[in-house]
């Protein structure tokens, strides 16, 4: 194996990594923004839940490459446009997250909601100030799955245009450089690990109440 490839191409690796970070994270943000209202919608009626869960489940079933190829038909983009990758990953994020959001909102204890209502919270304020914060731990768990699988899925985009570190796979394959491919795999795993860790910490930081009383011996 020619390890010399790595030190000679540090600039390329850094560029691809930065590109990869964008391609992996932007869909997670967009997906979260879409999933919260959709997840809420799923908790309103049984029909809404069935429709939302079935449609997102179906979208999740579509293989990533197929989705990236079909999106230009809907978006009117060119096949090599990076937007296709971003939208495809956003769809996967939504498909994963909507369920988490709906389950998390369902799990908010009835008494807490009743108490907030009794205290005069309007429906919207109760949702934003009471239900959503209590749902954070489960939503974060869903986000962690989404961010990790996105980080790996970005590379599929390398087959049709833009794939961040995935381009190290296609180039390494075409030029027969195993160390280039290996570098890509290791960096993808590292990125996923870092994103997962950061999300866990952020999730813990924004939900201080989950730790109160945990040590007080219930």
């Amino acid at each position: 194996m020619i390890w010399g490839w790595i030190p000679r191409n540090v600039d390329l690796i850094v560029d691809r990594t930065v590109e990869h970070i964008w391609l992996a994270l932007v869909p997670v943000f967009l997906g979260l923004i879409v999933s919260v209202p959709l997840g809420w919608l799923a908790t309103t009626t049984a029909t809404a839940r069935n429709v939302v869960i079935t449609v997102t489940g179906l979208l999740y079933t579509v293989p990533s490459l197929a989705l990236i190829v079909m999106l230009p038909l809907v978006l009117g983009t060119q096949i090599l446009n990076p937007l296709n990758v971003v939208v495809a990953l956003t769809i996967y994020t939504v498909a994963l997250l909507v369920r988490s959001v709906a389950d998390a909102l369902d799990a908010v204890p009835r008494v807490v909601i009743d108490a907030a209502t009794a205290m005069g919270y309007s429906q919207l304020r109760r949702f934003v100030a009471v239900e959503l914060p209590l749902a954070i731990p489960v939503i974060v768990a869903g986000l962690r799955v989404a961010v990790v699988s996105n980080t790996s899925l970005v590379t599929v985009g390398a087959l049709v245009g833009l794939g961040g570190l995935g381009q190290l796979f296609t180039e390494g394959f075409q030029r027969d450089i195993p160390s280039e491919i290996l570098a890509g795999i290791v960096l993808v795993l590292l990125l996923a690990l870092v994103f997962d860790g950061v999300l866990t910490l952020v999730g813990r930081a924004v939900t201080p109440w989950t730790r109160v009383g945990a040590g007080a011996g219930r």
């Binding site: 389950d103 599929v156 450089i177 795993l189």
Partner: protein, 227 residues
Amino acid sequence: MGGILQWFTDPAHWSGSDGVPVRILEHIYYALLTLLVAAVIAIPLGLYVGHTGHGRFLVVSSANSLRALPTLGVLVLAVVGFGVGLGPALAALVVLAVPPILAGTYAGVQAVDRAVVDAAHGMGMSEREVLFKVELPNALPLIIGGLRSATLQVISTATIAAYVALGGLGRYIIDGLSVRDYAEMVAGSILLALLAIAADLALAGLQRAIVSPGLRTPRRIRRPAAA
């Protein structure tokens, strides 16, 4: 849009070694072979870990970190390392299919109500009977759940196998891209999506057919632990 319809109605695309039926069969063949090998490895291992609790940490952490493993990279590395051909590609697919089945099997056995297992022991069942007559049937929904995610993963990744010169539906996408034939790419994608959905529905049907009716009533949503 018109081009895609034309592609599908062109009889030339429905016969011969690169026709739709052959490509679909190739795809199913790769997927079935991979899943069979992966299940033979993962289900016994998952049952063992779930029943005894040995190696639990290894299973959980490997299943989590392997989710991040980029399939394209693994496949390409296997081919660059071991040569073009069905063997290396299938080996890479198996590596990707084992974790979800293993995690599903382990979690399924682990989630069986302790009281049920204790009752089985109390009735004088041997360890083997407890495992195969109590834990396995109770774990089936989650085992099949693991199989379902593995199937989606494999069908999806078998597409990428076309990139390393194998057959299957991915050929239409990769070949279409190289000659800028967008209609061919979309046609391949539509067939692929339909295959994935059909496979998922088939497994959902299997789940309904072989899971004991006693387990079919939806369990109450367990309050997710604050993790």
